[in-house]
């Protein structure tokens, strides 16, 4: 089920796609969530989570290359047409929910920090129009946007090393490993929402040239995001005390308010505005994946499911109208991702490998 070579991208794009999909709104506020259990040892949890996602990525790529297609093909080969379509549908719905969660969370940040009176739908319509424009250009355009977004994450990465002397306290991190291993694992679990996004490989895989031999780019991408989040957590913990961080919803933005220039006092406004490019990337990728999946399931043109998804996104964004609903929604999405990609996919992989072996033996 290979894709026409005209629509494929070079292998190294996998690096940008993985990073583009993974680094989202989580960067600004995942610190307090991961610090809930493991306190300020949580940066170690990020490293643990980094190792786990490398394993999951290995499993995913192995599964996809042995099926020689995307997750829809895997499901169809494993379950047959009808049950396979239902299972693929669930994953496509997850991609859509992920897109909605990122969009709504970003709009919330804008509403809290920049424009309190901005209606949700205005921002949603503007961002979705941009995403539609990108997705209608095909996968190669989406991959190109990922490249631009990753350039922005490099900027954000260096932003972590802005450590004004009067505000940092190395004591915060000491004593290291003050928490039990179970706590560290619990915190590692909490990173799943921030780390989510790499599952895009399930749909992207056939679009990569020589995908089977170029898995190193996917692993490199994951390594980069792990480093990014670890450094992010580590440096943020230097600024804010352990009790204070629980009250800071977006710790990273708070830290950026410490930086001022004579020509611009509030650098965080620029940071938030520039964030649009990251958000657009994730939403484009997720909606592209979702609509591509539905296209294959229903055998329609991609435009039809895409438009439906966009309208549904708009509706759902409007329904998530306060912080608490949004929060429980984010939690739901992250537990779905946990269940689907850390439990279900490895299970599918095991079954798939066994079935394949059996087939080979019987043949």
């Amino acid at each position: 089920m290979q894709v026409n070579i005209r629509h494929q991208v070079s292998p190294y794009f996998l690096f940008f796609i993985i990073i583009g999909a993974q680094t989202g709104v989580g960067i600004l506020g995942f610190h307090r969530i991961i610090a809930k259990h493991a306190g300020y040892d949580a940066w170690i949890s990020v490293l643990i989570a980094g190792v786990i996602i490398q394993l999951v990525m290995f499993v995913m790529i192995h599964l996809l290359s042995s099926a020689n297609g995307d997750i829809v093909d895997v499901h169809n080969q494993l379950y047959g047409k009808i049950l396979g379509s239902i299972m693929s549908g669930i994953i496509m719905v997850y991609f859509w929910l992920a897109a909605v969660s990122v969009l709504r969370e970003y709009i919330e940040i804008i509403q809290v920090w920049l424009f309190p009176t901005l209606p949700t739908w205005v921002m949603a319509v503007l961002i979705l129009l941009l995403c539609y424009y990108i997705i209608s250009g095909g996968f190669r355009v989406v991959a190109g946007i990922c490249f631009v977004a990753v350039l922005y994450t490099f900027l954000l990465f260096f932003n972590h090393f802005n450590l004004p002397r009067n505000y940092i306290h190395l004591d915060n991190l000491l004593p290291i490993l003050d928490h039990s291993f179970a706590d560290l694992l619990r915190s590692a679990k909490e990173t799943s929402y921030s780390m989510a996004g790499f599952e895009i490989i399930l749909m992207v895989f056939p679009f990569i040239k020589n995908a089977k031999t170029s898995r190193k780019f996917a692993h490199l991408g994951l390594a980069y995001t792990t480093l990014f989040y670890t450094v992010g957590a580590f440096t943020t913990f230097l600024f804010i005390s352990e009790k204070q961080i629980q009250s800071n919803i977006w710790a990273r933005i708070n830290i950026n308010t410490l930086t001022t220039f004579s020509f611009i006092q509030r650098i965080e406004y620029i940071l938030i505005s520039l964030y649009l490019i990251k958000i657009v990337t994730i939403i484009s990728l997720m909606l592209w994946a979702s609509s591509r999946g539905f296209k294959k399931i229903f055998n329609k043109k991609q435009k039809a499911p895409l438009l439906v998804l966009m309208v549904l996104t708009l509706v759902l964004c409007q329904l998530l109208d306060n912080r608490y609903i949004l929060h429980s929604f984010l939690n739901t999405v992250s537990s779905i991702s946990l269940g689907l990609f850390y439990l279900y996919i490895p299970l599918v992989w095991l079954v798939f490998i066994m079935v394949k072996k059996k087939k080979r033996v019987t043949r």
Binding site: W113, R165, H169, N172, D178, S241
Partner: protein, 362 residues
Amino acid sequence: MKYYLLTISIVILFVLSGCQIVPTQNTNEISIIQGVGFDLTSDEKLLGTIVYPEYRVDETSKVEILKAEGDTVQETIDRSQNEVQYPLVSGQLRLVLFGQKLAEKGLYPIIDTIRRTPEIANTIQLAVIEGEASELLSIKKYGKENIALYLSDMIRQNARIGELPTTDLAIFSYNYHNDGNDPYLPLLKKEKDKIKINGIGLLKDDRLITTLPVKDVFTLKMLIERFKLGTHQYKLSEDEFVVISNIKSTPHYEVKVNKGIPEFTITIKMDARLQEYRSIDRGPTDKKKVKQLQVQIKNKIEQDAARIIMFLQENGVDPIGLGSKYEAHYRDFDLRKWEEQYPNVEVKVNADIEMVHTGVVE
């Protein structure tokens, strides 16, 4: 298809910008709050004093002062809002002052409001006033000067090159929230019609406990933070004075735990320059003399620091953050137990001062 989409986008952009979805504010049609002061009135209400500049076309700008009472911060602002031509906005706030009575009762509700507001930067200056903040902000002399900017610059420059420890909202809220740290704020005082820094206000949680006079502030700064610049005078005997200029000063903390009781050794490493020396004998400040001065200053710093730490322990405040050093060192740290231990904990101070040079003459 794509042109069609582009057209829609452009049309939507124009329509939306015409819709006034986000209310706009023109810079010349807002009252920019630059400083606020809060006091406690006799009936336990907040008295807010707002400082904002009023720009006129044909005059130089004038600073307006508004006062209003209320139970919450926002109410005082809303009551002031009723008196002004243009809406009050807080994005350029630089200074928040607290009257002594309010500081003794607790600052947290106000700090919390400030932190909650996204427009307000994390680097604004806070200060405690000996007396009333409203009285201090309405001194006539500073009417043209813009008192809010004046005071925030005054605190900032004194922290940067003077004796005052660095303080702002971010540092305050760190110290407030962190276990084993207590916040401290500069203490301002009105004297005739001048305003001056009159020491450091020491807080426990969010309540002002006691104050440290100006002469001890430099030593406290040496104990708290790493810094450059700043001068201080030491009186060696009745008519012998020496002033050193700090080049670089760093405190090092060492914690030893002996049967559950911590012992602290603070080593202040300081490179200094001889700034001024005054005594009856007008001999040269040669190597021997400088060595001798060095020992005398070292003893003086150690005595001062020991006295200040004793004072802090007696009052149960910990601006140095000994508790947090202990917590970083000791895994079984218990905050409640530490607070009981703190007044009796042994703290040794070593000053390791090195006269790097003596200026251009010897």
